[in-house]
Amino acid sequence: LEAGVATQVRGPSALDQALDWARRNPAQTAVGILALIVLALIVRYSLHDVAQASINGLVSGSYYALGAVGLTLVYGILKLTNFAHGDFLTFGAYMAFLATATWGLPLVAGILFAVATTAALGVGFEKVLWRPMRRRKAGLLQLLLISIGLAFVIRNGIQLYWGTSQRKIEANTGATVEFLDLRIGRIALFVMIAGIVVLLLVALMLRRSSLGRQMRALADNFDLAETAGIDTDRVVTATWIFAGGLAGLAGVLYATALGAFNPNTGFQLLLSLFAAVILGGIGNAYGALAGGIVLGLVQEWSTLVVAGQWKVAVGFGVLILVLIVRPQGIFGRERTL
């Protein structure tokens, strides 16, 4: 009995120490929790099923990540919660459709056209809308509602021109690659690799290049960066080129892999993109990659336990849980709160 009392006096319990370690090492903790879930799933189901679900999760996770990185850049630098971002993805998909199906260009040209036009769309709205509103010191609610209005205009503009019927970007969606008895669609594999490579390049750009350093300076403190002599208008324009271009790319790749799309496709993805952004810590490009992949994995694993239609709800449930435990996201810094 005395020994028990002594250990209590000696300091924080093992549980407290573990929780404290978890707070200081959120990424390792997240990986640990995911590993435990995988182990539990493998014990309950078969290794093959879990591996197949994980591959599907990595694929959808890479769409989420690719769509989320532009959202997180714009949020981090402009403090703008852009509800029109999902419709940027839709715009990209329809631009590629215009180039390939209507004009008969090859898919690669269609992708480049989509990236260029969606980037131009982002820059255009920056010039006519966001920059004047920043000058007027518009508030959070004002900017958020403008982005919702813009989302209505883009989505319904697309519907006005192309109608609501399902469209297809011609690609051989049926082809699959098989290894170790696991299947992955060839396009899905391409999308996944393209997504991860592009995201790593963006992260490298943010870390190494002069433009990336200036972007991070703006994200830290916009006014201070301006005072320090950074040409903020130029950096913001570059941000919209990246955000728009990546959204266009994500839109084409997602639409191609999905097979069919309509004017609502991007908006339906938007909340999952927000979830990926927040899971990873808002304003953080690596975070968007990690958040997207975690979201994709958890959603696909959930299909082993409950019916597939629930996976969207599972994703949002995980988001709410993570925010309760760690409001700044897995990779977010306390300061960004």
């Binding site: 959070l140 609610l141 209005g149 209505f152 519907q159 927000f274 949002f316 988001l319 409001p327």
Partner: protein, 320 residues
């Protein structure tokens, strides 16, 4: 013969405008909750459609599956919606404004996915019906009374009257509540949370009360939708319902309850009235034009008149 045709046309138009009035009525009640949350407390509640779904489905299920009387189901379902407000508020009210917006919209989507997929309970996309028989009897007796003054020809008129009376009563009650010390503390929370806290006010509790009351208003709007449509479908409660509610809110103006009713009537009169303009377009493209109009309206308001028609500019504050 021509006179006869015109008369019929006029009659059908009366029915049409009664329908528009009902929509404007329940959008107004829905948006009163947003006004309380956004306009007076500074909470960006984007999950209002979710609270409405909880209220409407709770009412429907209590009547159809649990055998509650319609009149008992209404207060019980309102309490259930308020409980959801507390449940969502407890973990999320400590988050900053934009995260709160995304958590509430995610909650609303979870509710919608659940009502779509729990087919054995809600009927999923086949819909839930059979809760409106009590209301139909009430509606008939109101219609009989209306017939004595010669207004007995419109089957939807009783619902319009009850919706409008409910909206007016709620506007009066909420406006009165705003003048009490309770209402003043809510504004203080919106303007400067830290100052309100320094004065010893429990800011968190006030936010929670605001959210729960807003959820109750969403639930009441949900009952009128349920009665208007006679069948509940999950797709009615998509996020776009909340977005249009925000359109109504900022058209009327922040921190003004009667403005919500004015905003709702004007927006829906424009949206539905334009159906009479003949356009050489198919229906889905006309629909697209109408929603582009809503988008442009929201953008123009936020750029040129962020306080809306009746709001005050100095009330456009969000403590963030």
């Amino acid at each position: 013969v021509i006179e006869h045709a015109v008369a019929l046309d006029f009659l059908s138009q009366t029915g049409f405008w009664i329908g528009v009035g009902i929509i404007a009525g329940y959008y107004a009640i829905f948006t009163l909750g947003l006004q309380l949350n956004v306009g007076y407390t500074g909470l960006l509640n984007f999950g209002q459609a979710g609270f409405m779904a909880v209220g409407a489905y709770a009412m429907g299920l209590l009547v159809v599956k649990s055998g509650f009387s319609f009149w008992l189901a209404l207060p019980v379902a309102t309490l259930i919606a308020m409980a959801f407000g507390v449940l969502i508020g407890l973990p999320s009210l400590r988050l900053r404004a934009d995260y709160f917006a995304i958590v509430t919209i995610s909650f609303a989507e979870i509710i919608r996915v659940a009502t779509t997929n729990a087919i054995s309970i809600t009927g999923g996309s086949n819909g839930l019906s059979g809760y409106e028989t009590t209301w139909d009897d009430t509606s008939d007796s109101i219609q009989d009374s209306l017939a004595t003054i010669g207004w007995g020809d419109e089957p939807a008129l009783p619902l319009l009257l009850v919706t409008a009376v409910t909206a007016v009563i709620l506007i009066v009650l909420l406006s009165l509540a705003q003048r009490t010390p309770w209402g003043r503390v809510l504004r203080a929370v919106r303007e400067d949370e830290d100052a309100a806290r320094a004065l010893g006010k429990n800011v968190f509790s006030y936010k929670l009360q605001s959210l729960a009351l807003g959820a109750a208003l969403a639930a009441i709007a949900g009952y009128f939708i349920a009665l208007d449509l006679a069948t509940l479908f999950p797709d009615t409660f998509e996020p776009i319902f909340t977005f249009i509610g925000f359109g109504v809110l900022i058209l009327g103006g922040l921190a003004n309850y009667p403005g919500v009713a004015a905003g709702s009537v004007i927006l829906w009169a424009i949206l539905e009235g334009t159906r009479f303009i003949e356009l050489p377009l198919v229906e889905e493209k006309v629909e697209a034009l109408r929603f582009m109009f809503v988008g442009v309206l929201i953008i123009l308001l936020m750029v040129f008149r962020p306080q809306g028609m009746f709001g005050k500019r100095q009330e456009m504050v969000l403590s963030e």
